[in-house]
Symmetry: C2
Subunit: 318 residues, 2 copies
């Protein structure tokens, strides 16, 4: 069976997998992204070498890589990815040289959005928002994610929602990401004196009747509020059939979805909000999206199967 080597390049970690045409990860490996552009590239090369070896009898037919930032998908160039320190990096040529395989480089959120689309029955018009170290979006219009004139569309995380608000690492003020990205939640919780080792720990303290943690509640309310404001704009502009949340922060589930739906509703006076749900691929959406890029690079249309909803019976999605 043909497989591809797939890597979802995140701001914190590189998530790799050997993925088959059904979207199943036969093996998974992760590495930290590293703190500078050269280190991130070295780690990516090492991860791909490791995955190639682990593929064993399955001979990989291609490599698919999803990266954040501004990506020129036609040439496989990362034009600008601030979280990675990459600028005008001809990633596809570099990786083809190193692996000897055909390589596709695409935008992480757009690729993940398309994987979600394949898995959930190809909606014509929806918005996929992965919330992790960074926040972006695949804005699917008439079946295809908008890439924009320079490949820079979908930067939902850098829509300004509080004009004089929090400084964002990107240099702007009041971006959605400055409140709602995983790192922002943790940083803002600590700035209020809270102690936590991870964003998940903060989220676990939100909205409890007993053991109330006012700092966790306040920081989370700001995160949800910023997302709601950004999504109000997306709703007004694009009128999507649904909004799908992915990425690590979406694992919060109802703790995220319920207040977000309420906030979004309160910002809309004369139309109902689009339905809101978490991604069917869950935190694997990025990896599956990268795999999709790889398969398409060699003219293969994968037959992705709808993964099982967490908590239901049946084999996992690998």
């Amino acid at each position: 069976m043909s497989v591809v080597l797939a890597v979802d390049v995140g701001g914190t970690g590189l998530k790799g997998a050997v993925v088959d045409v059904h979207g199943r990860a036969l093996v998974r490996r992760e590495r930290p992204t590293a703190l500078d552009g050269r280190g991130a590239l070295d780690n990516l090369l090492a991860l791909l070498a490791e995955l190639a070896e682990l593929a064993g009898p399955h001979r990989p037919v291609a490599v698919g890589v999803g990266t954040p930032g501004t990506v020129d998908e036609a040439s496989g160039t990362v034009v600008h990815a601030s979280n990675l320190g990459w600028r005008d990096l001809g990633l596809r040529a570099l990786l083809e040289e190193a692996t000897g395989l055909p390589v596709a480089v695409g935008h992480d959120a757009r690729a993940a959005g398309r994987a979600e689309q394949l898995a959930s029955g190809a909606r014509d018009s929806f918005v996929f928002v992965p919330i992790g170290t960074g926040i972006s979006a695949a804005l699917v219009v008439r079946g295809t994610a908008v890439s924009g004139v320079s490949g820079a569309a979908g930067e939902f995380g850098h829509v300004v929602v509080h004009p004089d608000g929090e400084p964002c690492p990107c240099g702007q003020r009041g971006c959605v990401e400055a409140y709602a990205a995983a790192g922002a939640v943790l940083r803002r919780y600590r700035a209020r004196g809270g102690r936590a080792g991870s964003t998940a720990e903060v989220v676990a303290r939100v909205g409890r009747d007993a053991d109330a943690d006012a700092d966790a509640d306040a920081v989370w309310a700001d995160a949800v509020g910023a997302l709601a404001l950004g999504l109000q704009g997306v709703t007004m502009l694009l009128d999507p059939a649904e909004i799908v949340l992915g990425g690590g922060v979406s694992r919060a589930g109802a703790v995220l979805l319920d207040p977000l739906a309420a906030d979004l509703r309160s910002l809309l006076a004369w139309r109902s909000p689009p339905p809101l749900r978490t991604a069917r691929w869950g935190a694997q959406a990025g990896r599956v999206g990268a795999a999709l890029l790889g398969f398409e690079r060699v003219g293969t249309t994968p037959r992705f199967e709808l993964p099982h909803v967490p908590g239901t019976a049946g084999a996992g999605t690998g």
Copy 2:
């Protein structure tokens, strides 16, 4: 030569014309929109009857009508247009009955955006923002304006840019329209004690060294600031090749464009703003867009000619 009857239905006035396939208005007539839905419909019917008579020897082949709000273009139904008091109005059927001609009903901004596109050389990706009684947008992606799952896309005027800001007539708070629509500028100027009979009078008092009018300056700065915040989001989400401003307020020209470009630039830390310009069709874009709908209804592709830029030599656009 074949002509159509075209009407651009605005929140304040009905702008009608008999338009030929070159986009020239052979005759123009306007009527007020009226204060209620029934009155607006009666005025529209009367205006169409008047235009049909004025067409004289040119026999109209169709009627094209552009309306604001949520429009189902396939059925010619105005689902919801708050400025007009229309809800679930089967306008196409009504007008075909009354005129005996084939009728097309479309969204005003999307139709005007397409007319602009035809006139300025069909950009694949741009945003057209008519600023008048209301504010909306044609978001052109891959050559076609986004209509959304329910025909409600492009409501740029109701993107919330100041979460606890000015009440908007739509029932929300802090919408772009609550600061930057023609009526909002005039209302907010008067609320500060300024006296003016029209928005154009207020705009004429902006940014003068002598005769400085601090109220006009402040109100205009708020309008420009709200537009800039909304366009920051549009830029981040869609990465358009250019932003084109139309509608009555765009007649302000450099008084609008210069501070808007500066504000937009100051909200973008790591990318340049898309080029900003006023519409080539100017305030006629809505009428020409409605004419385009009419011609397309009967399978005719009009050969719109680029209108002459005001102030340059040559015949007007009629």
